[in-house]
Symmetry: C2
Subunit: 387 residues, 2 copies
Amino acid sequence: MQNFIFENPTKIVFGEGTIATIGSETRRFGTKVLLVYGGGSIKQNRIYDQVVASLRAAEVEIVEFSGVQPNPVLSHAQRGVEIARREKVDVILAVGGGSVIDTAKTIAVGAVTNRDLWDFFTRAAMIEAALPVLTVLTVAASASEMNPAAVITREEGSQKFSIRSPHIQPKTSVLDPTTLYTLSATYSAYSSVDAITHMLEGYFNNEEVNSPLQDTLVEGITRVIMESTAVILDNPTDYKARATMMWSATLAFNGLTTAGVGKVELPVHMIEHSLSALYDIAHGAGLSIILPGWMRYAADGKQAKMARFARRIFGVVDIDEGQAVMKGIEGLKYWFASIGSPTSLGEGNIPENDIDRIAANASVLAGVWGLEAYTKDVIRRILRFCI
Amino acid sequence: MQNFIFENPTKIVFGEGTIATIGSETRRFGTKVLLVYGGGSIKQNRIYDQVVASLRAAEVEIVEFSGVQPNPVLSHAQRGVEIARREKVDVILAVGGGSVIDTAKTIAVGAVTNRDLWDFFTRAAMIEAALPVLTVLTVAASASEMNPAAVITREEGSQKFSIRSPHIQPKTSVLDPTTLYTLSATYSAYSSVDAITHMLEGYFNNEEVNSPLQDTLVEGITRVIMESTAVILDNPTDYKARATMMWSATLAFNGLTTAGVGKVELPVHMIEHSLSALYDIAHGAGLSIILPGWMRYAADGKQAKMARFARRIFGVVDIDEGQAVMKGIEGLKYWFASIGSPTSLGEGNIPENDIDRIAANASVLAGVWGLEAYTKDVIRRILRFCI
């Protein structure tokens, strides 16, 4: 096990009926809130009504900022910053999934700085303050509700970059599994892909069998997510399955499964960021295309670990490690396909001829993240495995 | 899954060499520290020197309070309170295991109240403030380093009671696995019993297969602890095994495995508290006596869950649930015995004729904890299974 620091102070309020607590939770941090949400689906499924009623009951003044899109963009967050400043809100509440929460975190930073917001994403500047952020989660995938990260795309140059700071760690997140009942089968599947990929990036990143505890946690949560996803696709309003998926997705990327495994590099997320920055594709869909391709590329150096994965997750019995690895990758692709998530560039409607363009885009982020091993050539090789 | 609130803000600094950080961590909360420790073993194994050097480097003034014994007593903690008040310390640092940390937490409460300290243990008073507590862990078992609880015995009436409050949740805990190298085989084994019992109380408490995520976490961490314990007993300075055990024990009772399983009753801990309050027996040793007996008592109402335990942990293959349960209990007793922990009152040198006395003592705590089902008669029945 590697040395680590684990600190995750977010308060989680979990369960059916808990949205009623968001008013008093918000009131602990301010009296005037910027309510950030997306395209308005929360108005159809009554989540909006519950949130507003709770905020009003707690005497919190509401300023609305809606219109967050999937793969949220910097220019929109900047409009939110202007409103937050003009209205002098003192707390930000995100009601939505990762895109909404990440926009809210970005606004929280922008509201208290005079620097160019993008400087924090290129790591040219350090985040030194932010307004307090709270969340009501409606898509369980990103774990942004319990971690200190946010991902935003700048339209200029199609760059999908991230920030990371304890200042944007949510103070409180309300997780009511019934908010997931109206999530489509497609996005429910993408959510599962995202959560599993978060864990596997740490798992495969890790040195061989050096962290049996973390390996066990990842394998266990992965199996639980796979089982829950099957139930959800069959019955979208199965409370137990939605609840299990919701808390699993949070634990999958809140620092628990990566504490002790060393620096996690996230190459699959890095390359996927270029897919969803350049094309109209959901993050989860991009991940299910890249992950198996990356595993093919990385298999040589991580054979024992990938064989363990194949055995523990898919029950592969081959004694030959190389064969077990390939069957594990095939098993994963088969599972992604079975839940309706694409497993090749073509299935994702991404032109195979664009590999150079994608690699050029991703290599910029590789530079920002310090992943020197991921040169344009290497990324091209990985993408060829994704054809 | 049941509704829950999860909030655990303790900062964990984990790994070899991390004791050097305790000075700067302590300095964040105060400039004059009460350094609480036990019988002086930390002076032999150089932990004391590292702690004092780090505190001095951070310009933290040190007031010492030593002599904490296993199954720590209220009168000793009260002496610590007097010193903390007289010396006007503003922060408490525990260097030790659960007994030392729990004494430090009790002192932290006592230092800022004029109420009778025992009132907080009988639940006659609510904890409303405490000095900040930090820890350097040297025995991985209680998880007190990352939870809001403390257990103390009042000599008068031999009552071993507990307190629970966010105010005594440690701010920072330093976990250096090399501090465990000098822990005896006996206490290493008791530590594993304690950590596993913490998890199983929640696991069996839980309704049948309602929380597959939590079940998976408990089963996984239990197997990891069992594997690590075998390595530790063979080679006490195996870093990977000590590190794995250390972080496993923390996760076993920091709220992670119990979030979502409903109110956890802890009847095994309740009855064990009477054993170690009345007799000279280590907490872990008491638990390995009580847990299998309690499982025999509780088996009827929890047959499916106990059969699952037998199958997942001990590979029991019996199709008949009742038989699987019995084999699981036997497997657990056999494993406790194999690591040198007692599995009957006799092996723990506790007179079988004292069952009435133990039951009378435990039933008082049952009243305080609100475990109405555990009448004196029920406790007697459980204890008879421990003969």
